[in-house]
């Protein structure tokens, strides 16, 4: 085996590395077309701040997909929590930033808990239940908001400042996202219960024989996904300052896409939240790079779709090839 071939194979196998490379290539290419993409105060900031909401959603979605399920309601949860934060500022203009975030996460947690509870109760795929709650949560959001729009003037200055603050040129929201990511990653890697998510998604029957608390872990996965969507809702409000009832529409697909592109296996049991977060980073960056490269940003969805299909096809072919090689190896011995 030559060195280059082995190197390429390692890259293909480590999804995180290949995404980072893709990210660097896109940023480099786009910057070479227009240097403002990276080398301007705003470009740098946008690059880091834009993916934060999707990163939060993708982390939550990764928990759910690893346990072999889907959460389609995250976009609606984001919309509902963002609107709630805005509404709370109408009632309590000087609400501290931290309180706003905690309330948003609390509401998201509750909504996620409802998802998980219904999935456990009905014993059906999470996709069906969250399809229903996606409607319901969005409906409540629109019913509550009507045609109202919460504007920047309605929210506290502190809150908006936090949404755009930079510490050493790094946006506060990006730091927040990285902290959450580090926590989730550490938990999934180093805690017993964290590893059990993988076991349950990898082989539910074996998990049953092993005596793992499958129901409780599934419920936890949906609850965490809801909490992350709540966090993303608060980020959304802080970042944009305006919240209408359609906030977060379609984000569920992007979140699933980010996780899958980031190497979270669609059939459960493998993948990392870091991969999912990098997937979110890549998707958002492609989105902002397309117009600079002279392609209408309207094509972004098509790119997302092709990346999703490409990623799952790649996963599948690699797995099939690995299995073939192992059988061949066994036959030789």
């Amino acid at each position: 085996m030559n060195g280059l071939g082995a190197f390429l194979r390692r890259i293909v196998r480590s999804r995180e590395i290949s995404i980072v490379i893709a990210f660097v290539v896109i940023v480099a290419a786009t910057t070479s077309v227009n240097s403002h993409f990276l080398f301007s105060a705003d470009g740098w900031k946008q690059l880091l701040i834009n993916p934060t909401m999707l990163v939060a959603l993708a982390i939550g979605e990764a928990f759910v997909i690893i346990t072999k399920s889907f959460d389609l309601s995250v976009g609606s949860v984001l919309g509902l929590t963002a609107f709630m934060v805005g509404s709370m500022y109408l009632a309590w203009p000087q609400m501290p930033v931290i309180v706003a975030f905690l309330f948003a996460i609390a509401l998201g947690t509750l909504l996620g808990f409802v998802n998980g509870g219904l999935v456990a109760l009905a014993k059906v795929p999470g996709m069906v239940i969250t399809l229903g709650t996606m409607y319901i949560y969005r409906g409540i959001d629109i019913l509550w908001a009507g045609t109202k729009r919460i504007n920047a003037t309605n929210m506290s200055q502190d809150f908006l400042a936090f949404g755009n603050a930079q510490i050493l040129t790094i946006p506060a929201l990006a730091i927040l996202a990285v902290v959450v990511l580090a926590g989730a990653s550490w938990y999934l890697r180093n805690m017993r219960s964290g590893r059990e998510f993988y076991a349950i998604g990898s082989a539910p029957d074996a998990a049953e024989l092993c005596g793992l608390a499958i129901g409780r872990r599934r419920l936890a996965a949906f609850t965490i996904s809801g909490a992350m969507a709540g966090l993303a809702g608060a980020m959304f409000a802080a970042r944009y300052g305006t919240v209408a009832s359609d906030a977060g529409t379609g984000f569920e697909l992007q979140a699933i896409g980010a996780a899958v592109i980031g190497g979270v296996a669609i059939v459960g049991g493998s993948g990392t939240v870091i991969g999912a977060a990098l997937g979110a980073l890549l998707l958002t960056t492609i989105n902002s790079a397309l117009p600079v490269l002279g392609i209408s940003s309207l094509w972004q969805q098509a790119v997302v779709g092709i990346l999703i299909i490409g990623a799952i096809t790649l996963d599948r072919t690699l797995a099939a090839r690995r299995a073939r090689l192992l059988v061949a190896e066994r036959m030789r011995t």
Binding site: A199, A203, D205, A207, G269, M331
Partner: protein
């Protein structure tokens, strides 16, 4: 354990378990003593695996008592049983394919350090120790996906040892292991016994049972039959207890006129499964494929029937070659396959009896491309009646029937196709004695009517009683062929456990 006195470590008395209307276990009893290896034997469907799953907490018993070291216990789930010191190695490995070997061994009870953080280094060190003790070299960090069944079994054993269990139950752990691997496993089992643990060993291989175990319990039809010391008994006696009668007189294969070759298989090969399989089946003849579980017998018939692909060789039916990998073509040519696993392959258990019976003939039942419930029921009724299927009505779900009746439904389904060759994989697995002899009589009748029958069976009495000719497979190859006069339990078992070169040498 030395201070525990002579009491049993684990004792089950008169335990029963029903699934719907099917009694999987009627009177299960077992007594495991410390420092002893206990064999549990019985035919397929005798209730051994159900008994094991009750001990492990997978199933909850309907009645009876279970005591562990004198204390009555009642495990609601596997975690409780494990916490109480019971480790089970199941027939099929139950691993997490995406996780590493180390994680698989410690799942649910990982070693933790400060802040409840998983201590990977300590776990890995333990696994390295375990592997050394077991005398194998499996990378503790690799995922278990892609490991051979033998290696997966080793990991299950490592898991059980690392639990430091009082009771270790092994449900046919050797089915897929080679000679060396079996010896290594036995060495470990003996050392665990010498530490004073109680072991139970389920196996169909008598040589292993007699070389390893101290005590033996026989089960039949879901009930306890007897317990003896190994030293006080011998193989024929055990077989008699298992079968409940003398072998040979219960299988009424009538003499049938043997005609032309109907099914001709030559050089069939599928890498990793089987190689160079050639045989013929004539009309009126019952040919049996014998061998151990995992020898590749089911894989061969699945390839013949076209469910699985094959890479080399050919299959002809009445002189006409059959295209590979097409069950539809095989059915057209007159092949029928009653598969190994009724629940997964033979039946759609969530469908009605009527639909199941007509599933294979649904194309011939349709007129101008349309099929009606009425025509289906007409046909289904005929065949249900012919085989005397016992069910309340045709719309009863197949899952509500007993194993024997389910098997009759599968038979009805395939006989409705009017086949020339009937392939039957384990015709009487998991069905009661009465229905068993009914199935055997039916097969004999069919042969008399000129059907060519290819039968896979792991039950030697069945093979010896039914088959005109016996082909023995070992590790994917046919190693021996015996006609009815020469076939004995001894020479079939010998051929099934040795490869061709060893057979020549002996």
């Amino acid at each position: 354990m030395t201070t525990g006195g002579p009491g049993p470590t684990l004792e089950l008395v008169d335990v029963s378990k029903n699934f719907g209307t099917v009694a999987a276990l009627r009177h299960g009893s077992l007594r495991l003593d410390p420092g002893s290896i206990h064999a549990l034997v019985g035919e397929n469907g005798a209730g051994k695996s159900t008994l094991v799953k009750i001990i492990a907490g997978v199933y909850q018993r309907d009645s009876g008592t279970v005591t562990l070291e004198g204390q009555p216990v009642d495990f609601r789930n596997t975690a409780e049983a494990r916490a109480a010191g019971i480790a089970v190695i199941y027939q099929e490995p139950t691993l997490f394919p995406d996780l590493s070997v180390t994680e698989n061994i410690f799942m649910g009870r990982q070693l933790v350090g400060r802040f409840a953080r998983i201590d990977r280094t300590a776990m890995r060190a333990q696994v390295v120790d375990l592997m050394t003790r077991l005398g194998v070299s499996i990378d503790p960090d690799r995922p278990t996906q892609g490991l051979s069944i033998a290696d997966q079994q080793i990991i299950e054993i490592a898991k059980a040892i690392s639990l430091d269990a009082k009771v270790l139950i092994m449900d046919e752990p050797t089915a897929a292991l080679s000679g060396v691997e079996v010896e290594r496993l036995f060495a470990v089992a003996r050392s665990l016994r010498d530490e004073g643990r109680a072991l139970a060993f389920i196996s169909h291989r008598f040589d292993e049972v007699f070389s390893l175990c101290d005590m033996i319990t026989v089960m039949r039809d879901g009930s306890y039959i007897s317990t003896q010391a190994i030293a006080d008994t011998d193989e024929p006696a055990i077989v008699r207890l298992m079968v409940g009668r003398d072998v040979g007189d219960m299988f009424p294969k009538a003499e049938a006129a043997i005609g032309d070759v109907v099914l001709d298989v030559s050089g069939l090969t599928s890498p990793g499964m089987f190689a160079d399989i050639s045989f013929q089946v004539r009309s009126g003849e019952i040919v049996s494929l014998a061998g151990l579980v995992g020898a590749g017998r089911s894989e061969v018939v699945r390839a013949v029937f076209g469910v699985d692909p094959y890479t080399a060789g050919r299959v002809t039916v009445e002189g006409k070659p059959l295209p590979p990998h097409s069950p539809t073509a095989a059915m057209h040519a007159g092949l029928a396959l009653v598969p190994e696993d009724r629940h997964l392959q033979g039946l759609v258990v969530e469908e009605s009896v009527g639909t199941n019976i007509t599933d294979a003939i649904r194309r011939t039942l349709s007129r101008h491309g349309f099929i009606t419930r009425h025509r289906e029921n007409e046909s289904a009724q005929t065949w249900a009646g012919a085989l005397d299927v016992k069910c309340s009505a045709l719309d009863a779900l197949a899952s509500t029937l007993s194993g024997g009746n389910q098997q009759k439904v599968v038979l009805a389904k395939w006989l409705a196709c009017d086949p020339k060759v009937l392939i039957i994989d384990e015709p009487t697995r998991g069905i009661d004695v009465g229905t068993k002899s009914e199935v055997h009589r039916r097969m004999s009748d069919l042969a008399c009517h000129g059907l060519a029958i290819l039968m896979i069976s792991s039950e030697l009495p069945e093979v010896l009683g039914m088959a005109d000719r016996v082909l023995v497979m070992h590790e994917g190859r046919i190693t021996a062929e015996f006609d009815r006069a020469n076939a004995t339990a001894e020479n079939i078992m010998f051929a099934a456990t040795h490869n061709a070169s060893e057979l020549v040498a002996s």
